[in-house]
């Protein structure tokens, strides 16, 4: 099994979720994150004082998939999340050494 993590634009969550569902990925976990990279933060002016935010809102998705599907899933995410503008984010894969479904106690790939 692999854990695929994607940091993407906030408004791409819906299309990515949809694309994954179509590929048969049945579950994922999402969280709000703040990112920083080549893309600059933004400025808000309050009564003439400027507040700069270094970080920009992004969304992080974690999906566990069988090792053999990892490549395909990454491609799906990349395709669905791409706008072509700077700040589109990254997708990475990491190894897992175990997985359990809490409800049933199933182990390994069955638990996905």
């Amino acid at each position: 099994m692999k854990l695929i993590t994607a940091v993407i634009q906030r408004n791409k969550l819906e299309p990515v979720t949809k694309a994954l569902a179509e590929r048969g990925v049945g579950g994922l976990t999402v969280m709000d994150v703040q990112g920083y990279g080549s893309q600059k933060g933004r400025k808000e002016v309050f009564r003439g004082k400027t507040y700069e935010t270094t970080f920009l809102p992004k969304t992080r998705i974690d999906v566990i998939v069988p090792a053999e599907e990892a490549e395909a899933v990454i491609d799906t995410i990349v395709a669905a999340a791409k706008t072509g503008s700077i700040g589109d984010g990254k997708v990475w894969a990491s190894p897992l050494t175990g997985l359990v479904r809490v409800r049933t106690g199933e182990h390994g790939p069955d638990a996905i």
Binding site: E44, V45, F46, R47, G48, K49, Y51
Partner: protein, 407 residues
């Protein structure tokens, strides 16, 4: 028996006082919304507690110091209204009771002190604030109030126009806030933005309503002047909003909502000394100018390096001056005073200019100077600034609570 006009007057002043009371949570939300999440509660506490601390001293000796018999024009006799003893019989047969007067003036004193909390934002010990509020009211507001509202030397000798406290309330608190901010020095972390603009809007909206009671109530009854000043107050608030937003649009390309709210207050502050002294056009123009001018003042004030982040100085100090000076040059009102009011450009006498400048100068210098001295002396004796560690987590460290828990 009271006259019939007076009976109706009481009905309106009771109302005016009631809505002025709502200005306190209004101001607390206005300031608290502009604070970062870590010092919302402290801001609330500073603004609201004046209704306890200042009220007590106002009842004991403040009312006497403001409107009591003048001791040489300097200060009213503090003993004159000690707890209203001897004044309670007035109004028993109908008409005004002195109790209403006392309550109304108490609110004036309290709100003036509350505005100054702007200058203490995010870095003053709460106990120090409590002490400061009492000392400031006694040494700054009561004398100024006496000079302007009572029989003090200023109102007796100088020809100036101040309808409802542009000097003693707004300039005093604006320059007081500046003095306090200078004495305290800036916060360590200036990178906090207003945490909730809905609270700011709500606060500004409540303040606007309260201002109807403030300015309309200063007329002393349900009379011509009340109806007149309610109108001018409405109009100046509306165009103050546009003036501030227009300035922002011009400078940054975007009109903001904080600017909108600030503009309302700027317009209201500016109309306070002028509410009975401009006609409808004048109110519209004054509001707009005040909004734009205060917007500009916020910008250059930011460059002074003084951390008076809620801008009481720009809004109340500068805004009050704009309103007062507007009357001098463009005043026009025919029936609100015994004699028609005419600004210099409309045939008025230039002498008003000197009187007004004196009143403004005295108020601003006195308020700034004495505030700074009070703060510095207090700092030497009791250390009024919080520790660096407390500053990072102010609400929790000073009040043991945090504002929100959305879990």
């Amino acid at each position: 028996m009271a006259e019939m006009q007076e009976l109706a007057d009481v009905a309106w002043i009771l109302t005016a006082l009631t809505v002025v009371l709502l200005m306190f949570p209004g101001l607390a939300l206005f300031y608290g919304g502009m604070s970062g999440t870590k010092n919302v509660l402290n801001m609330f506490a500073m603004v609201m507690t004046t209704l306890g601390t200042v009220t007590i001293i106002y009842v004991l000796f403040g009312h006497g110091m403001v409107v009591g018999e003048s001791l040489g024009g300097i200060i009213g006799n503090p003993l004159d209204y000690f707890g209203m003893v001897g004044h309670e019989e007035v109004g028993v047969d109908g008409g005004f009771a002195e109790t209403l007067d006392l309550a109304f003036f108490t609110l004036f004193a309290c709100i003036t002190v509350s505005i100054i909390a702007s200058g203490a934002m995010g870095r003053m010990k709460f106990s120090a604030w409590m002490v400061f509020s009492v000392i400031w009211a006694t040494l700054v507001y009561f004398p100024l109030g006496h000079w302007v509202f009572g029989d003090g030397w200023l109102s007796a000798n100088v020809n100036f126009h101040d309808y409802a406290g542009g000097t003693a309330v707004h300039m005093a608190s604006g320059f007081g806030a500046l003095g306090l901010a200078v004495a305290l020095g800036p916060r360590r972390n200036l990178q906090t933005r207003p945490h909730s603009l809905p609270l700011v809007l709500l606060g500004a909206g409540i303040l606007w309503m309260g201002w109807m009671g403030f300015n309309g109530g200063t007329a002393g009854g349900a009379n011509y002047v009340a109806q007149y000043t309610i109108m001018t107050t409405l109009f100046a608030g509306g165009t103050g909003m546009l003036g501030f937003m227009a300035f922002e649009k011009f400078r940054d390309g975007k009109a903001t909502v904080l600017g909108m709210c600030s503009g309302i207050i700027a317009g209201l502050v500016a109309i306070t000394p002028a509410a009975d002294a401009v006609d409808p056009f004048g109110a519209l123009v004054l509001g707009f100018i005040a909004g734009a001018f205060v917007a500009w003042a916020c910008t250059w004030k930011a460059k002074l390096g003084v951390d008076e982040s809620l801008d009481a100085f720009a809004v109340h100090g500068v805004g009050g001056i704009v309103g007062a000076m507007f009357v001098v040059f463009f005043g026009w009102a025919t029936y609100t005073n015994d004699e028609p009011i005419r600004g210099i450009f409309f045939g008025g006498d230039i002498s008003l200019l000197w009187g007004e400048l004196i009143a403004i100068g005295v108020t601003c210098i006195y308020a700034f100077g004495v505030t700074w001295i009070i703060a510095k002396v207090m700092d030497k004796t009791m250390n009024i600034r919080v520790s660096n560690e407390d500053e990072e987590d102010l609400d929790f460290k000073l009040h043991g609570q945090t504002a929100y828990d959305y879990n």
